[in-house]
């Protein structure tokens, strides 16, 4: 009956642990006493002659105990919230039969099955919708107030058996009372830490007094206090270190125990071993992105922050060791899951193309590097050479912006000639090549010119910007491309933050309703298809009721600037939502026009969420193919 045997082992361990901790506290008292007595004897104060003073030991011992238990109680009171509070703290939403889809239903069923297998009541289930890593946790003081949390990544990527294994593992934590044990350990550790903190604050206070009050006649007493405080600080911090080591060691044992119990409950080692192998082979692994994840690190299924190495402070044993124990025949191969940053991620079933674009925001992918490399090698040599230095890069940008209209272009040539001698010859030389490349190349060319332009001095950059503005204004209207180009080129030298207080962050999209409508309307009007449908596709993703498509004349690029400046103050999560809506608007007709790509790119840049250049092409391909499989190579599917 391994199941109950494990429980016995766990109880024995708990007993040993308590002994160890009591020993640590006793050691702490002795150390504190030695510090105090040693200092008193050395400074010959308080009438102490020998190190052995029973009355002093009693006083110091009681004081130390009081401090430690006080700190412990304080921490426990802080943590008394129970499982639901922790789950909500981590960003979980309650999953019930009423509000879940088919996958959610499977999860709830699996939880009920494991409740039967372990003989516990079914806990409530929380889903961490924004977490894409494969992880889960159990929390709660008692099995009665317990909750189980599962990440979206686990729900999507694990099959039924694997999910069962993960849930069974969490049930083991609940059944064995690991949560309670852990919380108590955390409390005790805090108590020991408080001792060190007191020492440190006394040290600080004394130092401040000495600085302000100068040297009085109590110099010897102050030195004694200082020495005692220093000693307490060292003892407290060393104790905390030792305590964390014990705690981590216990955590690791509990993980092994829970893995074994998971096999016990499911009678299927393949399930949990499969889940662990999947985590090992998945680029996101078991990561949790919530800022509160650190506090929950001891209660999750696998490490919240990826690290393959064994460390004495790790709360989880290495994945390989865990798998080896469940599946001795394992040969060290993790199940390869395509990393989120590759093209195959775009083909992940279920995710909409817009979500795929979002998944790539801010990531330098092998794909985008390949695109950049391919772009460079496919460039005509003259352009490639020009883009290696700021002078040529300026000429390329100017070549891009020159109008097609003959009359306007004459005025623009004139402006360039006025600006700087010699520049006009370079532009004349490069422009035909730039124009020949066609509109598809506009965005890559702008991208490639950003890096060399950074070599300009601020004064030169300002002058170049003036020239650009003048050229754009020369036909007395700003078209979408000109606007996007200006906006993307801001990356060259980001405007310095205005000194003084920063903009307060905006948390609700409702406050920037007008700006959102303008953004989506501009994108919808930039496409060639039905702009009404495109707008609706984007607006549907925003929590704003009754958002209306603005007329074409309202979608002036100049107004976009103000809107984007306002939107830049959004909190990152809302930016993500907004960018998702933008991507949906662009992708509604399963085709990304050049203007749309440029505009989306400019918007993403302005919001501080850069999108790699290949994303749109890949997302478009995936959308067009109905998302069976998209590859980065030119051979396609």
């Amino acid at each position: 009956m391994e199941f109950f045997e494990h429980q016995d082992v766990a109880r024995r361990q708990t007993g040993r642990l308590v002994v160890l901790f009591v020993a640590a506290v006793l050691l702490l008292i002795v150390a504190a006493y030695l510090v105090v007595a040693g200092v008193l004897v050395a400074t010959d104060s308080g009438g102490f002659r020998s190190v052995w003073e029973p009355r002093l030991l009693l006083v110091v011992g009681l004081a130390t105990l009081a401090v430690v238990s006080g700190g412990c109680l304080f921490k426990l009171l802080q943590l008394r919230g129970g499982g639901a509070a922790i789950a909500e703290h981590l960003g979980g939403t309650l999953l019930t039969g009423g509000n879940c889809d088919a996958r959610g239903r499977v999860l709830l069923n699996v939880v009920d099955e494991m409740a039967l297998a372990s003989g516990l009541r079914s806990p409530v289930v929380y889903l961490l919708r924004q977490e894409q890593g494969i992880n889960a946790f159990a929390a709660g003081w008692t099995p009665e107030d317990a909750v189980i949390g599962v990440t979206q990544g686990a729900l999507e990527r694990l099959d039924r058996d694997q999910l069962q294994g993960v849930i069974a593992h969490e049930f083991s934590h609940l059944l064995n009372g690991d949560m309670r044990l852990n919380l108590r350990l955390v409390g005790l550790l805090h108590g020991i830490l408080v001792l060190g903190l007191i020492g440190r604050s006394v040290l600080r206070a004394v130092r401040v007094r000495r600085v302000s009050g100068g040297r009085g006649k109590g110099g010897g007493a102050i030195a004694a206090v200082l020495a005692i405080a220093l000693g307490l600080m060292i003892v407290g911090f060393a104790g905390t270190l030792l305590g964390s080591l014990i705690q981590a060691a216990v955590c690791r044992q509990r993980e092994f125990l829970a893995d074994a119990s998971a096999v016990q409950f499911t009678r299927n080692p393949g399930g949990i071993a499969g889940a662990l192998k999947l985590i090992g082979g998945f680029a996101r692994g078991s990561e949790l992105t919530s800022p509160q994840a650190g506090e929950a690190r001891h209660m999750v299924f696998a490490r919240a922050h990826s690290a393959r190495l064994a460390s004495p402070f790790a709360t989880h044993p290495p994945l390989a060791e865990r798998i080896q124990r469940i599946d001795p025949a394992w040969e060290g191969e993790f199940v390869a899951v395509a990393p989120p940053a590759s093209a195959s991620e775009l083909a992940t079933a279920g995710a909409s193309p817009a979500e795929r674009v979002l998944g790539l925001v801010g990531q330098l992918t092998p794909g985008s590097l390949a695109v950049a490399g391919a772009a460079l090698s496919a460039l005509p040599p003259a352009l490639a050479h020009a883009l290696t230095e700021p002078y040529g890069a300026r000429a390329v940008v100017l070549g891009l912006i020159l109008s097609r209209d003959e009359a306007v272009r004459q005025r623009q040539w004139h402006l360039i000639a006025q600006s700087e001698a010699g520049l006009i010859d370079e532009v004349r030389r490069l422009r035909p090549t730039v124009v020949d490349l066609g509109t598809l190349w506009r965005l890559p060319l702008i991208d490639l010119s950003v890096a060399p332009l950074r070599a300009l001095s601020p004064a030169q950059w300002a002058q170049f910007q003036e020239l650009l503005d003048a050229l754009i204004a020369s036909d007395s209207r700003v078209d979408l491309f000109e606007w996007s180009l200006r906006r993307i080129l801001r990356r060259v030298m980001p405007a310095e933050a205005v000194p003084g207080r920063p903009e307060p962050p905006i948390r609700e999209l409702e406050r920037v309703r007008e700006e959102c409508a303008l953004l989506l309307s501009s994108l919808a009007r930039a496409g060639s298809g039905d702009s009404r449908a495109a707008f609706a596709a984007g607006a549907r993703l925003l929590p704003l009721e009754g958002l209306a498509l603005l007329p074409a004349e309202a979608c002036e690029p100049e107004r976009l600037d103000a809107a984007l400046d306002a939107l830049a103050a959004l909190v990152p999560l809302r930016k993500r939502d907004l960018l998702g809506a933008c991507a949906a608007t662009v992708l509604v007709d399963r085709h990304v026009a050049v203007e749309e790509a440029e505009l989306l790119r400019a918007i993403a840049d302005a919001l501080g969420c850069p999108v790699p250049p290949d994303v749109l092409a890949l997302a478009e391909r995936a959308a067009a193919a109905g998302a069976p499989r998209a590859t980065a190579g030119p051979s396609g599917s």
Binding site: M1, F3, F4, A102, R105, V106, N109, V110, D112, E113, M114, L116, A117, S118, G119, R160, F265, R267
Partner: protein
């Protein structure tokens, strides 16, 4: 005199320890017995759950399987038999005959469901039906639950038996009415499993 007091004190202490140990053993026996009794109740609950799902299943499948009336009727009949069997077994849980009948009825139901799903394979529309998919997930889950409940029952019975047969509980267990070992659930088709598989060409 002081020796007599010491001996008396030691005896009293010993007697107290023995009483405590016996109380502990008794309480543990009761706990373990209740645990497996609860596990048995869970099996019943899950079987009932399965019976309740079947009318839904038949209702959903009816529209698509107009030509497979006999298969559907067989499922309904098997379900009704299983419901009746469960009722009898719940009334007299100690009667091996009732348990036996229930086991047979459940086996019949499993067979009928298996045939229904085999037939449904030929109807892609039915397989793609959202309702059908949801019901199939529920049935899968319920069958898992039944087997997990059996497993939990057997685990609990084994824990109880093992504890009862170890020393010191073995000395006192029969005094407190824990003489009989609890019996493990076995497969209804145990005889069939024991047979070596026949391969025919």
């Amino acid at each position: 005199m002081s020796t007599a007091v010491l001996v008396l004190g030691a005896l009293v202490a010993l007697a107290l320890i023995v009483v405590f140990v016996i109380v502990g053993i008794y309480n543990r026996l009761v706990t373990l017995k209740n645990r497996f009794a609860n596990a048995f109740a869970q099996i019943e609950v899950q079987l009932k759950r399965r019976h309740d799902l079947i009318p839904n299943l038949v209702e959903t499948a009816k529209g698509y399987l107009a030509h497979e009336r006999s298969t559907l009727e067989a499922v309904i009949a098997a379900r009704n038999q299983a419901v009746a069997g469960l009722g009898r077994a719940a009334q007299s849980p100690t009667d091996p005959g009732a348990i036996q009948a229930l086991n047979q009825a459940e086996a019949g139901l499993t067979g009928a469901l298996g045939r229904l799903f085999a037939v449904a394979e030929a109807y892609p529309d039915l397989k793609a039906n959202q309702n059908m998919m949801a019901i199939q997930e529920e049935l899968t889950s319920t069958e898992n639950r039944v087997s997990f409940a059996r497993q939990a029952y057997n685990d609990a019975v084994t824990a109880y038996n093992t504890y009862k047969q170890t020393f010191p509980p073995v000395v006192v267990a029969s005094m407190f009415g824990h003489g009989q070992d609890a019996t493990l659930l076995e497969f209804e088709d145990k005889a069939a499993i024991a047979q070596p598989p026949k391969v025919a060409f």
